[in-house]
């Protein structure tokens, strides 16, 4: 199993993608970037160069399922959908994120 690099943003990206797909249902790659951009009120922007490798990785680990489908504009696109395993992973990632942010917050406040 390829060990994910301990790159916070990297792990965060997985969290964002999983949450987006959980909340909005199946999306294609472009749709995911647009969704993250809009729900973060333009605070976060995903680099395509990081997104696609991450999507592949998550697909391999079984957190996502991918299918080819048609968009409203009749273009062929690859849609990603979260799986049961992915949902469990999402819960785990959220818990980790909460812990990390709380911890960092405390350090910044009381250190």
């Amino acid at each position: 199993m390829p060990k994910l690099r301990s790159d916070t943003l990297h792990g965060t990206l997985a969290l964002l993608v999983l949450q987006t797909l959980e909340a909005r249902g199946p999306l294609h790659g472009y749709g995911i970037t647009a969704a993250i951009q809009s729900s973060s009120a333009e605070l976060l922007r995903v680099e395509e160069g990081s997104l696609y490798p991450a999507l592949r990785r998550m697909e391999q680990q079984g957190w996502l399922r991918a299918r080819w489908g048609m968009t409203e504009k009749n273009r062929e696109a690859r849609f990603y959908e979260i799986t049961r395993v992915g949902q469990a992973q999402l819960a785990r990632e959220r818990a980790t994120w909460d812990r990390v942010t709380e911890g960092v917050g405390r350090v910044l406040a009381y250190a």
């Binding site: 390829p2 790659g29 395509e48």
Partner: protein, 891 residues
């Protein structure tokens, strides 16, 4: 899990690349739409989208890296490329693969023999715990009382077993039908951990005095003789004419613990009373015939066992001491020690006899492999020059040098693997051939040559090593090419003067190594020839030897003693039998009888000085064998029981014991276990003859009349000198002896066969070394031819210019010949220097010639030089006959 998918994706990479491409295009299209909607023009939007997307190719790469195991993918690509390259040059590939196949195959064959004979463990449970008992003096044989004493008294080992290998006669009377088997102790199967596959195996309760006659069959024997039928259990099998009840079949794959000999039938030790009634074997305190093994308990080491045995050894030996020995010898016996040696790979006479020969052969085939590798290296280097252009282009386009080296090495290793696969087939066939050499008429050697992990691993390792060995140098040199000059040179091959030196060095090495092998082959073949033509002191052609055994006849002892004469009477009446005689042993048969003798006036320097070798014979024996009588008289029918005791001696015995004077009229007495026999008068002196082996120093031999010896024997050897072919006479002899008594068992061989089979090992060495020497020569010659061709081809321009400028063709010939001559001479000289070191290895196998025999050395050097120069001159001739216009035009 994802690792596995990445592995699989290696083969799906095309499809994945297409998918990724489609996905990216879609994303870009969406982005462009968005930007256009935000106000940019189409072309600007597209540019912006591209920029944001980053370098397309880069992204695709990164996705790709997640999707596949990159190293595996590049390896697969390398292999595909290598296969294409090999297919494009079928001639080169064929020669390379064939050379490697022969080299690797030969190595694998010899190694699988070594594995079968020496390394393979017995198919029993925990073979590493097995040990063999030996006496402190090194004796490996035990008496039955001594074995029983060990079994009952020792406490150091978990279990002990004893066995004696015996052949059983499955027919009753007439022609013998042999089945090899063993007498084993009751705990044999238990200690070895070999279960039954049908019925039951022997248990300790089966091995007590007066036991019923039961037998356990070997699995393969049961399949062959009884068709694997279940109702074989309970049936009766006749061994030596005695009925034995079959109580079980051993587990498959087990055939005794003597490597090289399949044991088919196992009977308990106590059945000696049934098979050899009246011999009192089980209580004989000085008949040594059992091998004793044991199993160390878990956690018990050899040293623990030894000290444990030492504690009980006094009791053990006291209980079994031969009471008829002198007090001194008895005391010595009681003080004997017991030792245990690791025996995880069983007993083997084949091993002892052939061990050093096999290792020597391994060295020989190793050298052949080196020569083959040198050949392939040369081929690869020649090809590398042709591919310089391609390599330069690849380097210029950004390929890493290491990557290039790796790709070239892949080619080499692939060649080696192809050679190894072909070689493995060759090895299977040839190792069976070699085992055939080891077996002979009387004694079949059966070895388990099945491919096991060790042999497979060995082959793979050799293949990989040779691949890297001969591939590294060319690959490294290729990668060091400077792209610019190579492309400019456009394949003219200007680079590589130094490469030429390496090529020359390789050829010199090959020539030297082949010379060493040719010398070795010459010495071994010469030794064998000399052995085969040594004068054995008798004439072996046309002599039929009949081994008779009358122990199944149930005749009285008196009748038995008269049998030899009765048999001879009948046989001498057969017209084709010119001469017939009986003897206890025949020459070169593996059987021998020796005793110490006492001669007045002779003082032995040490114990063995007084040892003489004996044979008990009837009249006519020496005439039948055509051994000359030198003085006095031969034996006559008057020298029978009750008459004056006489003896014949050979020259060596006469010289050793009687000095220069005539031994006629003097007396000899035997000294057997300190009891001195009656004096025997020397009445004749015969010519020296070989007794046990053809290559021995003649032993002092004496012949006593058969009817005057006190020895008891259950059978006799009849030697018949025939006027017709043996095959024609055999049925007549069988008939004649069957009329005498139907239960006399017979076995036939000829004296020539008997002598020939004693030469099995020298024959093997001569044949194999001859074959490998020839092979090495062939490979070296091919290598030389290849190098010279290549060198000449490279200089075609130069040659063409020379000829055009007026040089005579003979001048060209001379030029090339000189170059070739230099290389060959250096190689031969190097070989002559190396040869003595190499032949020292085989010194033990030589007969009648020393390891540094100058004649063999000189002849080999001459032959090698002649053949090598001939090979080199062919390309030279082609060079000299080149049309200068053609050569010059070819840029």
């Amino acid at each position: 899990m994802s690792w596995l998918r990445r592995l699989v994706n290696v083969v799906r990479s095309d499809r994945l690349a297409r998918d990724a491409e489609r996905e990216m295009s879609f994303h870009v299209a969406e982005r462009v739409d968005e930007l256009v909607a935000g106000g940019l023009s189409e072309p600007e939007a597209r540019r912006e989208a591209r920029r944001r997307f980053g370098r397309h190719a880069d992204l695709r790469d990164r996705v790709h890296q997640v999707e596949v195991l990159v190293w595996l993918e590049s390896l697969v690509a390398d292999v595909r490329y290598a296969l294409r390259a090999l297919r494009a040059n079928p001639g080169f590939t064929a020669v390379a693969v064939l050379s490697l196949a022969l080299g690797i195959g030969a190595n694998t064959a010899i190694f699988s023999l070594i594995n079968a004979v020496m390394l393979r463990s017995l198919p029993v449970s925990h073979p590493e715990e097995l040990v063999q008992f030996v006496m402190g003096s090194g004796e490996e044989d035990f008496t039955n009382p001594l074995w029983e004493s060990i079994r009952d008294r020792q406490k150091a080992l978990e279990g002990t077993l004893a066995f004696a290998e015996r052949d059983f006669n499955l027919s009753s009377g007439g022609l013998v039908r042999r089945a090899p088997g063993a007498w084993v102790s009751g705990a044999y199967f238990g200690v070895l951990g070999v279960p039954a596959s049908r019925g039951r195996v022997l248990e300790p309760r089966d091995d007590v005095r007066g036991c019923p006659a039961v037998a356990v069959l070997g699995h393969r024997f049961w399949q062959l003789e009884y068709g694997g039928a279940d109702d074989a259990i309970g049936r009766s099998i006749a061994l030596g004419g005695h009925p034995f009840e079959i109580i079980g079949v051993a587990a498959p794959g087990f055939s005794g613990i003597h490597v090289g000999r399949l044991a088919n039938i196992f009977v308990p030790l106590c059945s000696a009373d049934v098979l050899r009634p009246g011999s009192g074997l089980l209580d004989a305190r000085s008949t040594w015939y059992l091998s004793v093994f044991g199993r160390l308990g878990p956690g018990v080491g050899l040293e623990d066992a030894r000290s444990g045995l030492a504690r009980t050894s006094r009791d053990v030996f006291t209980a079994a001491v031969p009471t008829h020995w002198t007090a001194d010898r008895q005391r010595e016996f009681i003080e004997s020690t017991l030792d245990v040696l690791p025996a995880g790979n069983g007993l083997s006479s084949v091993r002892g006899e052939y061990r050093s020969a096999l290792f020597t052969l391994l060295v020989v085939v190793g050298v052949v492999l080196l020569i083959a590798c040198a050949n392939v290296a040369q081929l690869l280097m020649a090809r590398a020059t042709a591919r310089q252009h391609e390599v330069a282009v690849r380097l210029a386009l950004g390929s890493g040098r290491l990557r290039l080296v790796r790709q070239l090495l892949t080619e080499s290793v692939l060649l080696a693997l192809l050679g190894a696969s072909l070689g493995a087939l060759f090895a299977r066939w040839s190792s069976r051939l070699v085992v055939g050499f080891l077996s002979d008429a009387g004694d079949t050697v059966s070895l388990d040559l099945s491919l096991d992990l060790r042999v497979l691993g060995f082959t793979m390792a050799i293949a990989a090593t040779t691949g890297i060995l001969f591939g590294l140098a060319p690959a490294w040199r290729s990668a060091r090419v400077d792209p610019q000059s190579a492309i400019r040179g456009a394949g003219r091959g200007l680079v590589g003067e130094s490469r030429h030196t390496l090529g020359k060095g390789l050829v010199i090495g090959q020539v030297a190594l082949s010379l060493v092998l040719v010398v070795a082959a010459g010495l071994l073949v010469g030794s064998f020839r000399r052995l085969a033509t040594v004068d054995p002191g008798f004439r072996s052609e046309g002599v039929l030897v009949v081994s008779t055994n009358w122990s199944e006849t149930g005749l009285s002892e008196d009748r038995q003693r008269g049998l030899p004469r009765e048999m001879l009477e009948r046989l001498r009446m057969i017209p084709a039998v010119r001469g017939a005689a009986a003897s206890l042993v025949t020459p070169i048969s593996g059987s021998a009888w020796n005793d110490y003798i006492i001669v007045d006036g002779f003082a032995p320097q040490n114990a063995n000085d007084a040892l003489a070798w004996f044979n008990a014979v009837t009249d006519g024996f020496l005439e039948t064998l055509d051994t000359r009588l030198l003085a006095g008289r031969g034996l006559t029918p008057q020298d029978k029981e009750g008459a004056a005791r006489v003896i014949l001696v050979n020259e060596t015995l006469a010289r050793r014991f009687f000095g220069d004077g005539s031994p006629l009229g003097r007396h000899i007495r035997t000294n057997v276990h300190d009891s001195v026999g009656p004096p025997m008068e020397v009445v004749g002196v015969v010519a020296d003859g070989k007794y046990r082996r053809v290559d021995e120093e003649t032993l002092p031999t004496a012949y006593v009349p058969l009817e005057q010896t006190a020895l008891w024997f259950p059978g006799i050897e009849l030697s018949l000198r025939l006027d017709a072919a043996a095959a024609a006479v055999m049925p007549v002899v069988t008939q004649a002896l069957a009329e005498l008594h139907p239960d006399i068992s017979l076995e036939y061989t000829t004296l020539s066969e008997q002598v020939a089979s004693s030469l099995a090992r020298p024959r093997l060495l001569a044949a194999l070394s001859g074959f490998f020497g020839f092979l090495a020569l062939l490979l070296a010659v091919i290598g030389l031819y290849g190098t010279m061709s290549y060198a000449v081809a490279r200089r075609r321009n130069e040659m063409g210019i020379r000829i055009a400028l007026g040089s005579a063709r003979s001048g060209i010939l001379g030029l090339v010949a000189r170059e070739a001559g230099k290389v060959v001479t250096v190689g031969v000289v190097l070989g002559i220097v190396l040869a003595p070191a190499g032949t020292r290895l085989i010194a033990a196998f030589l007969f009648g010639v020393t390891a540094w025999d100058p004649v063999t050395l000189a002849v080999s050097a001459l032959v090698l030089t002649a053949v090598a120069m001939a090979a080199a001159m062919v390309p030279a001739w082609r060079a000299a006959t080149v049309d200068p216009m053609v050569a010059l035009r070819e840029e």
